[in-house]
């Protein structure tokens, strides 16, 4: 959508916020990787497996709808890094699947945890060659704008890809030292991957994706988050900053209200983008991350199941309530724009920000 009022471009709006300046209007970044694939006539599978289509379809949708020029290279997303350690991953196929999933975890025993080693050479492991090619292509295709092109996740995300959540959950009580060993390894692996990226690309151009749903309080307690995850999160995020990554895309997916004070102890970038689902009120983001950009958080089901006028009103209301958050605000759908949202509802969502998101 080309703004009827002129003013800044979506790129300029995004850059203004990243420079801690106020844009003329709330930028729109709806986390639309899956939607962009279907919008372009491709499949959701392509976002995870096709180096060029992944970027091209996102750029096309961003231009078509007038959204912020952001490309997301998701790698194996929720299944990262199972393939890199010999596990089996199912990439989405068919009418209903949306994300890669681990179908066989590579680690089944304590001994295998203790024997985990960072692949050598790292750049040849699992999905890493494809991710590197995708990032290189995206940087070439989009010389400006933001590239969310380094999947970091967090200790729980990597841990549950390597071992099952059932094994990990029981270990928290039965073998807590083994959880620490697993998360120690996950941290070393994350930092090694982040370092590899800096050897290939300018880290200032790449925004790491940190956080994830398995840390949520629908899965683990805030106490366990503090005990098992926080030290490794802090270490990883500090290392990312030292390596030269400037802005982080932090997505504490799901219900993580009680974890927020702990996450807030970690580096989040300068500034970071704090992307929350509808389970967390954006006022909490403003409270715990006052120096960062609030991002979110329309409930995905609204775009998928409501008619355009209802979507329009819901977005208008959300934007009106949050556009003045001191650290800045980017409109988005809570977790991801549903890939099969109707074009009419997506248009209504976009128009609502265009109508209600102005500062001047």
């Amino acid at each position: 959508m080309v703004s009827s009022r002129g003013g800044m471009s979506e790129l300029e709006r995004l850059e203004a916020l990243l420079n801690r300046e106020r844009p003329d209007r709330v930028p729109i970044w709806p986390l639309s990787a899956g939607f962009s694939m279907l919008n372009g006539g491709y499949t959701i599978n392509d976002v995870y497996t096709d180096v060029r289509i992944c970027t091209d379809a996102q750029i096309w949708a961003n231009e078509q709808y007038g959204w912020a020029p952001v490309v997301l290279i998701p790698g194996a997303l929720s299944a990262w890094p199972a393939l890199e350690f010999g596990g089996d991953v199912k990439f989405p196929t068919g009418d209903f699947s949306q994300a890669p999933t681990v179908v066989r975890h590579p680690v089944q025993s304590d001994e295998e945890i203790l024997n985990l080693k960072i692949p050598d050479p790292l750049e040849n492991a699992g999905t890493i060659p494809m991710q590197l090619a995708a990032v290189a292509y995206a940087l070439e295709r989009q010389p400006r704008g933001l590239l969310v092109g380094l999947l970091v996740g967090g200790p729980m995300e990597i841990g549950r890809a390597l071992v099952s959540i059932e094994m990990l959950g029981r270990m928290m009580y039965k073998k807590p030292d083994m959880v620490h060993k697993l998360f120690r390894f996950a941290t070393d692996f994350s930092i090694a991957v982040a370092k590899l990226w800096t050897e290939k690309f300018d880290p200032a151009r790449i925004c790491p994706f940190v956080g994830g749903p398995t840390h949520s309080n629908q899965v683990i307690s805030p106490k366990h988050f503090k005990e098992f995850c926080l030290p490794y999160v802090k270490e990883t995020h500090a290392a990312l900053r030292e390596l030269g990554y400037k802005h982080f895309m932090f997505h504490p997916c799901g219900e993580q209200n009680e974890n927020l004070p702990y996450w807030a102890e970690a580096e989040m970038g300068d500034p970071g983008i704090i992307s929350v689902g509808h389970e967390i009120d954006l006022s909490k983001v403003a409270e715990y991350f006052p120096d960062h950009i609030a991002f979110g958080n329309l409930e995905p089901a609204i775009v998928q199941t409501h008619k355009p006028p209802e979507v329009y009103e819901a977005v208008r209301d959300l934007v009106a309530r949050h556009k003045d958050i001191p650290g800045g605000y980017i409109f988005s759908v809570g977790c991801e724009l549903p890939p099969k949202a109707s074009p009419g509802s997506v248009w209504a969502m976009t128009k609502a920000v265009e109508d209600a998101g102005w500062y001047t």
Binding site: D95, A99, M172, V219, I220
Partner: protein, 229 residues
């Protein structure tokens, strides 16, 4: 035969062993229950299962989380292993309260929630037919017909996989208008459940059983009403 007071003490210990996820205690008190002549069915339902129900409530209250429920279920099943042979050997019939088919819909392999739901139904005395994850939509219909279950429970964690739910619901209604359908999962809310034509919505594993009992009661009231006419 244990006295009433001793029986209560044993049941409390079994309940606490599950709630506090003490596997060894669950085994120990299950053995004591058998040794002292406590009805093994009573020890299961009013001891072990009651502990799991409390754990489910604590999950709903955000005092317990997935690791805690896994640990409680380990204690539950450890105690059950001891009691099960005695239940099977006795004349005591299980008081099945209802039957449910559960599964994660096609395209979705996120089954933590579904597995918790399964445990909660089992401990509540329901017969559970678990189809697993990434279940082809037609399979729910086939299984409902095969088992003649009262309730079908559908779970989805993704906005794409949730789109299969209305299709399953439509097909189930076509084949068996009486069946009650319960849905849940991260992208689902009561409004979506209504739009999709489900009879009920469960926000958590703990609330799923209560909701299914409500649906079952409605179903049986309707049937009684028809018979009365």
């Amino acid at each position: 035969m244990a006295s009433e007071e001793r029986t209560r003490e044993i049941l409390e210990a079994l309940k606490d062993s599950v709630k506090d996820f003490e596997e060894e205690e669950a085994v120990k008190w299950a053995k004591i229950a058998l040794e002292e002549g406590v009805d093994p069915f009573q020890a299961t339902m009013e001891g072990l299962a009651e502990g799991m129900i409390i754990a489910g409530d604590l999950y709903n209250q955000k005092e317990y989380f997935v690791p805690e429920l896994l640990m409680c279920s380990d204690a539950l099943y450890a105690g059950l292993e001891v009691l099960k042979p005695a239940i099977e050997a006795s004349d005591r019939q299980s008081e099945v309260k209802g039957s449910i088919v559960v599964g994660v819909v096609e395209g979705d392999v996120h089954d933590i929630g579904k597995n918790l739901v399964k445990i909660m139904f089992e401990v509540a005395g329901w017969t559970v037919h678990d189809l697993g994850k990434d279940v082809p939509l037609e399979k729910f219909v086939e299984e409902q017909i095969r088992t003649d279950c009262d309730v079908v429970g559908l779970s989805a964690l993704m906005t794409t996989s949730m789109l299969g739910m209305p299709e399953v619901i439509r097909k189930l209604r076509e084949k068996n208008p009486k069946v009650r359908i319960l849905i849940g999962g991260a992208p689902i809310n009561p409004e979506v459940a209504e739009k999709y034509g489900a009879d009920g919505y469960a926000k958590t594993a703990g609330t799923a059983v209560d909701e299914a009992i409500r649906l079952l009661k409605m179903l049986r009231d309707e049937e009684q009403g028809k018979q009365a006419v």
